[in-house]
C-alpha cells in the first residue's frame, strides 16, 4: 500500500497546526503585555453573556439584513466543520468517508445539511460582497478602510466562496464515482446541491474524474489550512476571539467609568493632611492614563484583536456622523496595529522590547480624535461582540490631562472653575440657591 498521501497529509496538518499555535501564542503574549484587570468575577453571568451574545448572535441581529446573513455564515461555519473531522481522519488513515459506515442513514442527512448550508453560505457571501463593493455601504468605505483593511474584507469573502465551491465540486465528482467505482467510493451521502453540478462532468473519463475528485479534496483541505493561518494576519480573528471577548466584557452599567484607587489616598491627603495614608496604598501610579499599548489593560488589547472592522461603532458615533476625525473602529484598528508593531519588535529582539520612539498616542491616534468623543456609549452599544473603544479613549484623555496637562484650553478653564467654585462655570457657590427666589 502506498503511504505517501498519508505522510504528505500528516506533514501538511502538522505544519499548519504548528504555525497556527505559534500565532496564537504570539497573540496571547501580546495581549498579556496589557495591565491586569479583574474580569473573572460573576462567572455565571459571564457565561450567560457569552452564550447570548457570541453563540446566540443577539447583537448581530439588531441590524436585520446583515445580522441574518451573518447567522447563516456562522451556522454554516460551525456545522460544516464537522466535515473537517472526517476529512482529517480520512487524510491520516487513507480511509474514504470514514463516517459513512459508522453513521449509516444519519450520514446522508449530515452531508445533505452540509451541502444546503454551503449553498446558503455562498449566497450570503455574495450578498456581503455586493454590500461592500456594489452598494458601497458607507461604513465599509471610511478613511480607515483604505488599502489592506478593504482588501482583507474582500479576501475573506473570496476564501469562503472558493472553499464552498471546492466542497460542492468535490461532492459532485464523488457522487458520480460512487456509481462507477463503489469499491473505492462508498455509496453514501445525499447531495441535494452538488447534484446540479454533476452535468459539468459529463463525458469525463473515470480516470480523469478520479484525478479531479482527489485534486478537489486536496485543494479543499489545503484551502482550509491556509485560511486557518490567514486568520492571524486578518480581521477575521473574531471567529475565535468573539467568545473570550464577550466572556470578559464589562458587566457594569455603561456609564460607570472605573475609579482609580491608586490616587484615592493622595487625594484624601491633599484634602486633609491629617489623614493617615492607608497602608499598602502609599505610592501613586508611575503613569496616569494611557499613551501606549502597555498602559492599556489586557481586555482592551484583546478587544483590538477581536475587532472585525464591521464599522457598526463608527456608523453610530455622533462625532463620526458629523464629519469629525474620530472613528471608534479606527481606535481599535490603531491599537491592534501598534500592538502588532510592538509584537514584531519583541520577536526581533528575543522577547525584549527595544525602544522605538513611537507610541499609540500621536503616532497612531491623535488628540483631535480623542477630544471629539462625547462618551455617549453608542459605539459600545453597537459592537456585536462587546468591544469597548470608549474605555481606550478615556484612558488616553486621562494621560493627556494628567501627564501632559494637554486638555483643550476651554476644558482647562472649566476644570479651574470646578476647583475654585465647585461648578464648571464661574459662579460663586454661595449663589447656588438663588433660583429659589428668582
Amino acid at each position: 500500500m502506498n503511504y505517501i498521501p498519508n505522510i504528505i497529509f500528516l506533514v501538511l496538518l502538522s505544519v499548519s497546526l504548528a504555525i497556527f499555535i505559534r500565532n496564537i501564542k504570539r497573540i496571547n503574549r501580546n495581549i498579556s503585555l496589557g495591565k491586569s484587570i479583574d474580569r473573572k468575577d460573576q462567572s455565571e453571568l459571564r457565561w450567560k453573556n457569552m452564550i447570548r451574545v457570541a453563540f446566540g448572535q443577539s447583537k448581530m441581529v439588531s441590524r436585520p439584513i446583515a445580522g441574518f446573513l451573518h447567522v447563516i455564515v456562522y451556522v454554516g461555519f460551525v456545522v460544516i466543520n464537522i466535515e473537517l473531522l472526517e476529512i482529517i481522519i480520512d487524510g491520516l488513515t487513507g480511509s474514504h468517508r470514514v463516517f459513512a459506515s459508522l453513521l449509516g442513514p444519519i450520514y446522508n442527512i449530515l452531508i445533505a445539511t452540509f451541502e444546503i448550508l454551503a449553498f446558503l453560505v455562498l449566497v450570503a457571501v455574495i450578498f456581503f460582497w455586493t454590500r461592500r463593493n456594489i452598494v458601497k455601504i458607507k461604513r465599509f468605505w471610511k478613511a480607515e478602510m483604505k488599502g489592506w483593511p478593504k482588501l482583507d474584507g474582500d479576501v475573506i469573502l473570496y476564501f469562503e466562496v472558493v472553499l464552498m465551491v471546492l466542497f460542492l465540486m468535490m461532492n459532485a465528482t464523488d457522487s458520480i464515482l460512487q456509481g462507477i467505482d463503489p469499491k473505492h467510493y462508498i455509496e453514501a451521502g445525499s447531495f441535494p446541491i452538488s447534484q446540479f453540478l454533476v452535468p459539468l462532468f459529463e463525458g469525463v473519463s473515470t480516470e480523469n474524474l478520479r484525478v479531479m475528485e482527489r485534486s478537489l479534496w486536496w485543494m479543499h483541505i489545503t484551502g482550509i489550512f491556509i485560511f486557518l493561518n490567514y486568520l492571524y494576519y486578518s480581521k477575521h480573528l473574531h471567529i475565535l476571539l468573539a467568545f473570550p471577548n464577550t466572556y470578559f466584557a464589562n458587566l457594569n452599567p455603561r456609564g460607570k467609568f472605573p475609579v482609580d484607587f491608586n490616587i484615592k489616598g493622595e487625594v484624601q491627603m491633599m484634602m486633609d493632611p491629617s489623614v493617615a495614608i492607608p497602608e499598602g496604598n502609599t505610592s501613586p501610579p508611575e503613569k496616569f492614563g494611557a499613551s501606549d499599548v502597555f498602559d492599556l489593560n489586557w481586555v482592551q488589547l484583546m478587544n483590538a484583536y477581536s475587532c472585525t472592522e464591521c464599522g457598526r461603532c463608527t456608523s453610530a458615533c455622533p462625532a463620526n456622523l458629523t464629519g469629525k476625525k474620530l472613528s471608534p473602529r479606527k481606535i481599535m484598528m490603531d491599537t491592534r496595529d501598534r500592538l502588532e508593531e510592538v509584537g514584531k519588535n519583541l520577536n526581533e529582539n528575543k522577547g525584549v522590547f527595544k525602544a522605538d520612539e513611537k507610541q499609540l498616542l500621536n503616532d497612531f491616534i491623535t488628540p483631535e480624535e480623542l477630544w471629539a468623543c462625547t462618551s455617549c456609549n453608542a459605539c459600545v452599544e453597537a459592537c456585536p461582540i462587546e468591544i469597548d473603544p470608549l474605555s481606550i479613549i478615556m484612558d488616553m484623555r486621562q494621560y493627556l490631562v494628567m501627564e501632559k496637562s494637554a486638555a483643550p484650553t476651554e476644558l482647562n478653564s472649566m476644570m479651574g472653575n470646578i476647583e475654585n467654585n465647585g461648578a464648571p462655570w464661574p459662579f460663586s457657590n454661595q449663589d447656588r440657591l438663588q433660583w429659589v427666589n428668582e
Binding site: 439588531s62 452599567p253 455603561r254 456609564g255 460607570k256 467609568f257 475609579v259 482609580d260 484607587f261 490616587i263 484615592k264 487625594v267 484624601q268 491633599m270 484634602m271 496616569f288 453610530a316 455622533p318 462625532a319 456622523l321 458629523t322 464629519g323 469629525k324 476625525k325 474620530l326 483631535e368 477630544w371 471629539a372 462625547t374 462618551s375 455617549c376 456609549n377 453608542a378 452599544e381 453597537a382 478615556m394 484623555r397 486621562q398 493627556l400 490631562v401 494628567m402 486638555a407 483643550p408 476651554e410 476644558l411 478653564s413 472649566m414 476644570m415 470646578i418 465647585g422 461648578a423 464648571p424 462655570w425 459662579f427 457657590n429 447656588r432 440657591l433 438663588q434 433660583w435 429659589v436
Partner: protein, 260 residues
C-alpha cells in the same frame, strides 16, 4: 412660593428629609435649567414629598472633570461631596441631571458614597404609581411629542421606559425618532463637550439630532437632561423653528399640565 428646605435647616430643627434633591450645577446656575429645577420642585411641593437640597453645600459631582480625564479633580469633588452627604446620613438622592445621576449612582460607591440614586423621571413615575401624583392630560391632548434619550440615562443606565410612561400620561401623541432608546443619537454635549468647542467636522452633533427630531414633525421635543435641553434648544433655534417647536423637560411638561 417654592418650599425648598436645605439639609442644614432641617438638621437645626431636628428634622430629616426622606430624599435629597441633588440640583446639579446646571440646575442651579443655568437660566434654562433653573426652570426645570423649579418645575420639579413645584411637583415635589404639590405631592408633599419630604425632600431637601444641599444648597451651598453642594458642589460639582465631578462628572465633567472625570470625562475630561482629570481623575484627580473628580475624586476631590467626589470625596468632598461624599463627606457632606455622609455627615447628613443621606440614603436617597434624586437628580434632574443624568450626568450627576450616573456619577452619584455608579462612581461614588467605590469612593465610599452609597446611596439609592434615582432620576427625577423615576421618582415621578413612582409618585404616579402610588397615586400621589396625577397628570392632567388636557393641555397636551393631540400634541406631537418626540422624546430624546439622554445617553447617560439611556445607554449608560438602561432607563428608557420611565420618561416615556410619563409622557404617555399627557394624552399626547408620542412619536419616536429614527434613532431612539438604545440607538438614540447623542445631543453632542456629553463627555465634557458642553464646555469646549467641537472639533472640525461637517456639522454640529446637535444639528444632526435636531434634524432627526424635526423629521417627526413635533410640537414638543421632550428631554430629561439639562444639557440635552440646551443642545436641542440651540438646534431648534438654528433651524429657525423656535416658534413652532418647544424643547421641554418632562418635569416642566407635567408641571405645566397640572397648571403649576
Amino acid at each position: 412660593m417654592l418650599n425648598v428646605p436645605t439639609l442644614a435647616q432641617l438638621q437645626s430643627e431636628g428634622k430629616k428629609a426622606e430624599i435629597v434633591f441633588w440640583v446639579g450645577c446646571a440646575g442651579s446656575f443655568d437660566d434654562r435649567a433653573k426652570k426645570i429645577t423649579k418645575a420639579f420642585v413645584k411637583l415635589l411641593n404639590q405631592t408633599e414629598v419630604s425632600f431637601a437640597v444641599l444648597g451651598t453645600e453642594e458642589s460639582c459631582s465631578g462628572d465633567p472633570a472625570k470625562r475630561s480625564g482629570n481623575e484627580f479633580l473628580f475624586q476631590m469633588q467626589a470625596l468632598q461631596n461624599i463627606a457632606t452627604l455622609n455627615a447628613y446620613e443621606v440614603t436617597k438622592i434624586v437628580t434632574t441631571c443624568p450626568h450627576c445621576f450616573n456619577t452619584l449612582k455608579n462612581e461614588y460607591p467605590d469612593l465610599g458614597g452609597n446611596y439609592e440614586v434615582i432620576h427625577h423621571t423615576q421618582l415621578l413615575k413612582k409618585l404616579l404609581k402610588e397615586e400621589k401624583l396625577t397628570i392632567q392630560g388636557g393641555k397636551f391632548k393631540g400634541k406631537r411629542i418626540t422624546y430624546h434619550d439622554p445617553c447617560y440615562l439611556g445607554r449608560a443606565n438602561q432607563i428608557y421606559e420611565a420618561p416615556r410612561e410619563l409622557l404617555q400620561k399627557l394624552d399626547a401623541e408620542l412619536i419616536e425618532m429614527k434613532s431612539c432608546k438604545s440607538k438614540g443619537l447623542c445631543c453632542g454635549a456629553g463627555g465634557a463637550q458642553m464646555f469646549k468647542d467641537a472639533e472640525p467636522g461637517d456639522k454640529e452633533v446637535n444639528i444632526e439630532r435636531t434634524e432627526q427630531a424635526l423629521e417627526t414633525q413635533p410640537d414638543i421635543v421632550a428631554a430629561s437632561c439639562p444639557f440635552c435641553n440646551t443642545m436641542m434648544t440651540d438646534g431648534i433655534k438654528n433651524k429657525e423653528q423656535e416658534d413652532k417647536v418647544q424643547v421641554m423637560d418632562i418635569a416642566e411638561l407635567i408641571a405645566n399640565a397640572n397648571d403649576l
